[in-house]
Amino acid sequence: MSKHALVIDDSNTMRQMVTFTLQDAGYTVVEADNGQTALDQAKAKAFDLIITDLNMPVMDGITFIQQARKDSLSRHAPILMLTTENAPERKQAGKAAGATGWIVKPFEPATLLGAVGKVVR
């Protein structure tokens, strides 16, 4: 049975890049373009993996992570955040909110799968 991932990013390009990479690795992917839509998805379903951008309109990634950890069917799922090389404070905030790990943008598909391998069996 294939694993289910939730990919959240307001940039279509980035989101699709992540989605395609995960699909190539055998995941079934659900997409969302902001934290609020993603939260609705996470409440309805237990995902095996969540990858989220941080800067997004409507609901940003940090708030999403907090909310998803607090009350959702996916509260135990590994959550990777998409960050940038020069924002250590965001990384900390993300971890405090409950993120499992992070992927630094820009990244190669192999890097993404590497990070995924660290959090998903």
């Binding site: 307001d10 940039s11 279509n12 390009t13 980035m14 699709q16 890049m17 395609f20 373009d33 902001n34 941080l54 800067n55 309109p57 409507v58 609901m59 940003d60 940090i62 708030t63 907090q66 950890r69 135990h76 799922a77 590994p78 959550i79 940038t84 090389e85 020069n86 250590p88 404070e89 965001r90 990384k91 900390q92 905030a93 971890k95 405090a96 909110a97 409950g98 993120a99 499992t100 790990g101 992070w102 943008k105 820009p106 990244f107 190669e108 391998g117 660290k118 959090v119 998903v120 069996r121």
Partner: protein, 672 residues
């Protein structure tokens, strides 16, 4: 992958265009009101996304350049650099340059221009302080051994971390010499919380890999002493490799984060600045759910619906002709099919429609730059951005519109002194609006400048040999001369207006979209240019007329009125050219039957019907046999399927299955 990559690239270009638009729009707003953190965040986010995407898609020039832009924006956000006019200007120029780079990438070229290098340097020097950490290098000796102590926080599992997975990954890096799990802190079952991790591990690992690769495994849990990696080789025991925060985390950060070392405390480290993006014009529609579909599919759909519309009217006529029309259920069913088809048609057409804001978004920047270059004070008013227009129209209207705006600023609006002297306010008003006008879309460019000078235009046209000095022309006809090829010449080329495109090119572009340009000008008061375009390119509102037993279709956009002539209205000029007098205005008479070499019902103009057509402010009367009515037709190209026919712009299939020609009004009015 290559096909996917191509798809990504297409998406990337589209998205980047949008984001560059956002950046530009944001910067222009920033120039007006300095302190709005949300605004800077929006701009920053757009730049940030471009950087991330371009880096990932292997476009380093774009990524590197955007990185510089982003840094400066970040500095502004932190307050380290002020968003002064100078800096905003630099960023605006960088946005242009970025657009150029993206355009190059679109063509598969990678071009770091002189300008981009120059701008990159300027961006760099505009930064507050530039600091770069030394590159970290780490070389390993022969078969080093490490002790890894992994003491996770109890709350670790709440972050979705699976500690066992980490331990299990260690053999990927080296061979495990010993592995010990510490269970000391596991409580009694009664106190056991399944949401907590009570275990700790100590592993001895032998590897030639750099210590980095061990750290890498624990990347996501390596803070505040949860992971300690110690090198065990004898000569280095005294100097254990630190499990300190890595270089990037060591960057001093005083600005926010009151208690950086509180990973267990969820409240203390709220995101610092970010709020949900303000509901600015663009962001609302951006968040709409949408899918991306190739234009080809949509066009195919539109074509099919077009055929359905035709088939529907064939069916209607057949029912009428076979006398089945008295069967009520059949009629009711047909009526339902009719409405549904029309509905379907409208909705399918709507798929191709985009708001005018995509085009208008660029105007504030253009006007800003032109105004400062030409030393004009301009109040730019834009309205009707929400007006939806066919995608093709959106794409092709851009250049003509830009040209018209340039003209309005360069030739229309006067410098402040001149305006004041003329009793006007110093600031000129340029109003650009889009609105639906019946079945068409109108774009109006209105300025309150000096207006067209009829006498000067006339003089110049005579000088250029476009008209004879004694030719009697109405004001409207004189104004129309500015659309004549060869009117705009080197003598009036300025840096702004004279980029080798004259109004004739503008006109041609608009005609290619089956549109018309109208001009209304009052000397000293200003000038209004109105571009009228069909709502869609595929379906045309037509007037159906009959001639010699055939049906012809005239685009309704060009029809002014239809009249029945009185013999006194018909006159012959210079012995051969026929004109008709309509409300004392002489108009050339075009006998369509002569053009097409067919025999009309009657060759007496007073027995037939005359349709007054207007094109580029030129009017002619077109003589046909009779008027049938008004009908929407699906336009098919004659040129593509057969060859170009003079006077024919296309063809369509009528309800009864017959083919009817659509007249080319431009061709018919030309040379009259």
């Amino acid at each position: 992958m290559s096909l996917e990559l191509e798809e990504f690239l297409l998406g990337f270009f589209e998205e980047t265009d949008e984001q560059l638009g956002q950046i530009e729009e944001g910067l222009l707003l920033l120039e007006k009101s300095y302190e709005d953190p949300d605004l800077l965040n929006t701009i920053f986010r757009a730049a940030h996304t471009i950087k991330g995407n371009s880096g990932m898609l292997g476009l380093p020039e774009i990524a590197n350049f955007t990185h510089r832009v982003e840094e400066l924006l970040d500095n502004m956000r932190d307050g380290a650099v002020s968003p002064s006019g100078e800096n905003v200007d630099l960023l605006l120029r960088s946005t242009d340059c970025l657009r150029d780079l993206v355009n190059c990438a679109k063509q598969g070229l990678s071009c770091e221009t002189e300008e981009s290098t120059l701008l990159a340097d300027q961006l760099q020097s505009a930064l507050a302080v530039s600091e770069e950490g030394p590159p970290q290098t780490d070389s390993a000796q022969e078969m080093p051994r490490y002790e890894i102590r992994f003491t996770p926080y109890k709350s670790l599992v709440r972050r979705g971390v699976d500690p066992l997975l980490l331990i299990e990954s260690l053999p990927q890096v080296g061979s495990i010499l010993s592995l010990e799990m510490q269970t000391d802190s596991v409580p009694d079952l009664s106190e056991f919380d399944t949401q907590k991790c009570y275990l700790a591990w100590c592993v001895e690992l032998e590897t030639r890999e750099p210590v980095q690769s061990i750290e890498d495994i624990f990347e996501f849990v390596d803070d505040d002493g949860q992971v300690e990696i110690t090198r065990l080789n004898p000569h280095q025991i005294s100097d254990p490799l630190p499990a300190e925060p890595s270089v990037e985390q060591a960057t001093p950060d005083i600005s926010n984060e009151p208690s950086p070392k509180a990973p267990g405390n969820q409240e203390s480290s709220q995101p610092t600045v970010r709020k949900p993006a303000p509901a600015r014009s663009g962001s609302v529609e951006d968040s709409n759910e949408s899918i991306r579909v190739s234009l080809k599919k949509v066009e195919h759909l539109i074509n099919t619906v077009g055929e359905l519309v035709i088939a529907n009217s064939v069916l209607n006529q057949t029912i009428g002709a076979t006398g089945a029309a008295d069967q009520l259920p059949l009629i009711e069913a047909m009526a339902l099919v009719d409405t549904t088809t029309r509905d379907l048609q409208e909705q399918v057409m709507a798929v191709r429609l985009l708001p005018m804001s995509t085009v208008f978004r660029r105007l504030p920047r253009l006007v800003r730059d032109l105004a400062s270059e030409l030393n004009r004070e301009v109040d730019l008013q834009i309205c009707g951005e929400d007006t939806e227009v066919d995608k093709q129209v959106i794409e092709e209207i851009q250049d003509p519109l830009v040209h018209l705006v340039r003209n309005a600023l360069d030739h229309g609006l006067e410098p402040a002194e001149e305006r004041l002297a003329a009793g006007k306010s110093a600031q000129g008003v340029l109003r650009i609006s889009a609105f639906h006008d019946g079945g068409s879309v109108a774009i109006e460019i209105k300025d309150d400048g000096r207006g067209l000078d009829t006498e000067r235009i006339k003089a110049k046209a005579i000088e250029r040999g476009l008209i004879r000095a004694d030719e009697p022309l109405t004001d409207r006809q004189i104004h129309a001369l500015i659309f004549h090829a060869g009117f705009s010449t080197a003598a009036q080329v300025t840096k702004v207006s004279g980029r080798g495109v004259g109004m004739d090119v503008v006109r041609k572009n608009i005609e290619n979209l089956s549109g018309v340009v109208e001009l209304d000008s009052t000397l000293g008061k200003g000038c209004t240019l109105t571009i009228k375009l069909p709502l869609t390119m595929a379906i045309l509102d037509g007037l159906t007329v009959g001639l010699a037993g055939e049906i012809y279709i005239i685009p309704l956009l060009s029809v002014v009125e239809s009249i029945r002539l009185d013999s006194r209205q018909v006159q012959t000029v210079a012995g051969k050219k026929e004109v008709i007098l309509v409300r004392n205005e002489p108009l050339p008479l075009v006998r369509l039957h002569q053009r097409f070499g067919v025999t009309p019902a009657s060759s007496d103009p007073c027995e037939g019907l005359v349709i007054i057509l207007e094109h580029q402010n030129n009017r002619v009367g077109l003589l046909v046999d009779e008027l049938h009515g008004q009908q929407q037709v699906v336009m098919k190209s004659v040129e593509k399927n057969y060859q170009k026919v003079e006077g024919v712009g296309g063809a369509t299939i009528l309800g009864d299955g017959r083919v009817a020609f659509i007249l080319d009004v431009a061709g018919l009015t030309r040379g009259q």
